[in-house]
């Protein structure tokens, strides 16, 4: 485990959708620069956890602190320091890849040359001026990775980030969102072995509850696999 000040601190975090509890009493601490991998079957609350940390959803009970700031009260202080790569790419289909990144660059006060460099890095230069609705799913995912890291965030929230990516494309985005990026990462995964390999800390969710919270070194794939049974 990386010894550093906590980047994420959750204590009794609970979130509901109406009567349905999506997250209940989740408590953990993640040091800066470390990677938390979140496992759990569909509907376990993984995406909800990421959206709470991204300041898009309010906690209904408990506390959540990101980079030392309490959510939602101090959400303004962490927006711009977080990058979210969710199931939705957050891109406009009728704009080109370059136009989409330029839009987000303006919102984040980032120079357009950064967008151009990222497009080149993920191998989309030849299609950068095509509308996003003409892209394959893998290309959209690559562009979404560019959007998520455009402003060089300290914390990355990654919801199955390698979905739709072939091995070559996964290799292209690895320096941006992988462990080598040096960022604090919260990654959801359905791959026990692959997920544990990149995790410092693992969280297993089942029906919104934290079924396990442990250092990755103390776990094996079979223990993670049990979450899905």
């Amino acid at each position: 485990m990386v010894a550093a000040a906590p980047a994420i601190e959750l204590a009794g975090l609970t979130r509901r959708y109406g009567e349905r509890v999506a997250l209940q009493d989740v408590t953990l601490t993640l040091p800066a620069g470390a990677t938390l991998v979140v496992f759990g079957p569909n509907g376990a609350g993984k995406s909800t956890l990421l959206r709470v940390l991204a300041t898009l959803l309010r906690p209904h009970a408990g506390t959540a602190r990101v980079l030392g700031h309490a959510l939602p009260e101090e959400g303004w202080a962490v927006r711009g320091r977080i990058g979210l790569l969710g199931h939705a790419p957050l891109l406009y289909r009728d704009l080109s890849g370059r136009e989409n990144l330029a839009f987000h660059a303006r919102l984040h006060g980032v120079g357009l040359e950064r967008a151009t460099a990222l497009i080149e890095q993920v191998g989309l230069s030849a299609r950068a001026d095509d509308k996003v609705h003409t892209y394959s799913r893998g290309m959209v995912q690559r562009l979404a990775v560019c959007r998520a890291v455009l402003h060089d965030p300290e914390v990355l929230l990654l919801d199955e980030p390698r979905a739709n990516l072939d091995p070559a494309a996964a290799g292209l985005v690895e320096p941006l969102i992988g462990a080598a990026s040096g960022r604090t990462r919260i990654v959801t995964s359905h791959d026990p072995a692959g997920g544990l390999a990149e995790a410092d800390l693992a969280l297993g969710l089942r029906a919104g509850r934290a079924d396990l919270v442990a250092a990755a070194g103390e776990l094996d794939a079979a223990r993670i696999g049990a979450l899905y049974r």
């Binding site: 300041t55 898009l56 957050l90 009728d94 704009l95 136009e99 839009f103 987000h104 006060g109």
Partner: protein, 225 residues
């Protein structure tokens, strides 16, 4: 905030130019409605308060089409989340969306008002009356844009947004329609005054101001969880 407003407004206009939806639908609806009025009223020409009523009812219902679609792309393609993740003043989204809707309304009126004059209006307005009409249109459009943006932001979170937008917006816009119709009635009279009643202009301006401040106060809560 100006930088953010410019970025969002540029994106809105680019999306409408790239894949026109709101403006063509609103313009087509306006012209079709005026044609229907032309036949339904069973008279070739209207003037005065009837002319003002026909014009404003047509423009108001056309505006509902654009209002319903104002946040659809942001909601369906996740652009709203992308905006909310950025370290920017969220009021910029209100301002940019309202300006975009104002632009769409103005573009529609470039088609609808001449069509109204051609199909229904009896007296031919002189240049002074046309200038006064533009002033009333601007003030009324500002009210429609502010209230429309507010209601659209609220309705887009629901499944029944196409129903909710007119149900919420139309009652809120009744004062705008009354003031706009009263202000334009003298302009549509044969030999009528070129002067728009100042009282109705003041009411329009005040209504715009009140709802502008209200929208500024509550918009953050509408777009947040």
């Amino acid at each position: 905030m100006r930088r953010t407003v410019a970025a969002v407004l540029r994106k809105e206009l680019r999306l409408e130019l790239r894949a026109p939806q709101a403006v063509p639908a609103m313009a087509l609806f306006s012209v079709t409605t005026l044609v229907v009025f032309h036949f339904a009223l069973q008279r070739g020409q209207v003037d005065g308060d009837l002319a003002a009523g026909v014009l404003w009812v047509t423009l108001l219902f056309a505006a509902m089409l654009g209002t319903s679609r104002l946040f659809v792309a942001d909601h369906e393609e996740g652009g709203l989340d992308g905006f909310l993740l950025a370290p920017v003043d969220r009021t910029a989204l209100l301002v940019a969306k309202a300006l975009a809707l104002l632009g769409f309304l103005a573009a529609v009126e470039v088609v609808a008002v001449p069509a109204f004059a051609l199909l229904l209006l009896g007296p031919t307005p002189d240049p002074g009356a046309v200038a006064a009409l533009v002033l009333v249109l601007l003030l009324a459009d500002a009210g429609v844009a502010i209230i429309g943006t507010l209601v659209s932001a609220l309705a887009v979170q629901t499944r029944a947004r196409d129903l909710i937008v007119p149900l919420l917006a139309l009652p809120l816009l009744i004062p705008v329609v009354i003031a706009a119709a009263r202000a334009t009635t003298p302009l549509f009279l044969a030999g009528g005054s070129e002067a728009v009643p100042a009282r109705w202009l003041a009411i329009l301006g005040l209504y715009d101001l009140v709802f502008g401040l209200l929208a500024y106060a509550v918009f953050d809560y509408l777009v947040e969880d």
